[in-house]
Symmetry: C2
Subunit: 485 residues, 2 copies
Amino acid sequence: MAYPLHVARDERGVTPQSEDFSAWYNEIVFRAELVDRGPVRGTMVMRPYGYRIWELLQADIDRRIKETGHVNAYFPLLIPESYMRREAEHVEGFSPELAIVTHAGGKELEEPLIIRPTSETVIGEMMAKWISSHRDLPMLLNQWANVVRWELRPRMFLRTTEFLWQEGHTAHADEADAMSETLLALTMYGQVARDVAAMPVIEGEKTPGERFAGARRTFTVEGMMRDGRALQSGTSHYMGENFARAFGIQYSADNGELRFCHTTSWGMSARMVGGVIMTHGDDKGLVLPPLLAPYQVVIVPIGRGDQAEQMLQPASELAERLRRAGIRTHVDARQQVSPGFKFNDWEMRGVPIRLELGPRDLAQGSALMSLRIGAGKTPVSLDSAPARLMFELTAFQGMLLQRATDFRDAHTVTVNSWEEFTEAVKTGWAIAFHCGQQDCEDDIKAATSATPRCIPTVGEPEEGLCVRCNAPSGYGKRIVFGRSY
Amino acid sequence: MAYPLHVARDERGVTPQSEDFSAWYNEIVFRAELVDRGPVRGTMVMRPYGYRIWELLQADIDRRIKETGHVNAYFPLLIPESYMRREAEHVEGFSPELAIVTHAGGKELEEPLIIRPTSETVIGEMMAKWISSHRDLPMLLNQWANVVRWELRPRMFLRTTEFLWQEGHTAHADEADAMSETLLALTMYGQVARDVAAMPVIEGEKTPGERFAGARRTFTVEGMMRDGRALQSGTSHYMGENFARAFGIQYSADNGELRFCHTTSWGMSARMVGGVIMTHGDDKGLVLPPLLAPYQVVIVPIGRGDQAEQMLQPASELAERLRRAGIRTHVDARQQVSPGFKFNDWEMRGVPIRLELGPRDLAQGSALMSLRIGAGKTPVSLDSAPARLMFELTAFQGMLLQRATDFRDAHTVTVNSWEEFTEAVKTGWAIAFHCGQQDCEDDIKAATSATPRCIPTVGEPEEGLCVRCNAPSGYGKRIVFGRSY
């Protein structure tokens, strides 16, 4: 499998992160050929190299979803407009973002159809049909799908008019069971972020103002990007009986009594690819965690003319041995560009490990290894290369998580005054007491652009006064504030 | 992983295939809980048990696509209406089936958007941007996606307003390379159908009247269903330069000359699940090829009350051993229904192998095996059960292919007269000479409902006179006629 990657025609350097993080991001996603702009405003094409990152993440999430007892299903893209109106908060939240089909099959439709922005309504309708007894519970469904939400300020991966995600939808007999499902999904997202994407996210609950439209409680995993902003990277919602009442999802209990189900929904999307880029990337380009790298190792044959060509055969043999050990390996055999060009190219594309193989290395039975982050080149014996590189990839994955954790901790400040707060949210997160009032949240946002990211799941109970208005803390602990994407 | 399957509430038998094949099909897909009707006319919900069949097929197709050098990407759902008009035949073919978005984000759109019915146009636009040199060729892309085509006569899996598929799209330097890609995809579809779905399809080329809108040549794999009708199960198209000219997909050749690419596209969809049902099912319900069965083995504990409960532990242990051997196994522990009910239930759901485990079997160190097709029960030693059941599943898969091949051959007649032709297409396929004229095709269809399914890829050249109009044969060999879905 070869990704159709091109020789970059643009010889200018990338804008440094420190100069303009947003420009850096936009340049990188296009230069590394992760994406292209779709023809319709706000849409995105995921090119093969970018789609592969999502595919690797998807496979891992899918495995975890199945291991925790969920099954995949598929529900229709098109939903009658009237469905949205059945849950009052839901329709209010999503109406401004809907795309509407009015004509089909050459005719005007009697009822307009919306393209799903999320599937609570159509799945609610089906659950009402499928659930009758307590024996049908819990019902643990998941779907991999595209959804459409009209975006006025699109940004590749982070906010696009159409995006790919999984949406879990479950129904339970009571609040306790639904809440443990909600937290199970939250825990899973935390693990995916940390263990696969090397993103040291914080788990917590959203404040009422940041809840999903129609949810009783919303939980989130929040990652810190290298500009100090927070990225909401996965959310899990406890719906209470809201959707069950709107769609009639009921079951007969043990004693014959008819009761409403308690439902949940939870989603993680291709936005995570954006999170990976902004958590690990640097001024040379992408830095990919090995578990999500389309190529984990790239071998560059060294030498001029004939010499380089003679290296192709041993390079291919080495690649084959690495592949058999489960390492995604590519040999860069391009003849029209120099080794130096290739080094820069693969650095820009974030490949964790580069191996150089020249006649002298081969004579010594080794190759020269360079890590995407780390100085110098280390000889690696060809004999033991598969085991050694597996070790190096594992270490690299761990190093990225540690590095991102250190970065986050260095940019997170527990604050006790408004001055400290405003300073902290300029470059990262502030951990502060807050009164829990919406108008105080709004006031903080207007003054600093920072919003409550979450009430952390971990952390000791603690009482104090609101960092902004001095009213007593509303959450029984400090909460996380930051500017966000 | 447990599929949320319900105790069937409908105690009536299924309509026999011989009485009304179409009614049989419709009853089975709902009773086995493969699907449900979506809220919008013509849409379908794929329920977990049905979706799993597709997921297993999808995994196999995806592996083959990657092994042959293709990479996955993802292109937008929404396409500007004007794109469709760039290829004249394409727009003519698809216009009547389009769903159109006219409003989004609370406003009327300046240009209406169509929901992709297929993605040649948007992928063509992107290929034009990505391809510049002969070094960029071939470009071998695939996408897994949903598409929408408004259906007036919907039928679960076979024709629904929205369906899931993969669509391969490739660009090549010349006709020879594009044609070998077209045939590579055709061969792949033949292998998937035979080796995975146990459907003995025939590969061949479509006559001009049956070509894909915008294609120069269309190839197909056609399977015979148990009512003798043909199901087009996968198609592969050589586009010539049609789309390259419409979208400007050009490359500079070795000598610097600017040339148009030759493109292909090919697709296989969840329609295949319908093909599996209609190829193998019988009056008791589904019959699933082991490679596509969500559960390959179901263990039913036998005994009354306490006895059955005592069987649960050894049944679970056996299931665990089978799972470790890679066999998808389920223990039916339901207490509210009898073993007899369970036997019928799993027969209806098409599980290849059922194992009964009662106290007497356990004492003898064995379980009683019943195949979904085949008479009687055979004791299987618990010790060697994993290896034995792997063997039985493999044999069952092979038996289904053989049985379907025998059925097809018994319902296929090489005909030399119009009388033989009309007789043959009542119950199956006719292999006949045809002049190749469109009006003669139309005439045959009006008289018999039969259409040319394909000009088979295999088979010796042979000359003769048209079975309908006596003009000389137009294809240099006999072609396959049949009624179709």
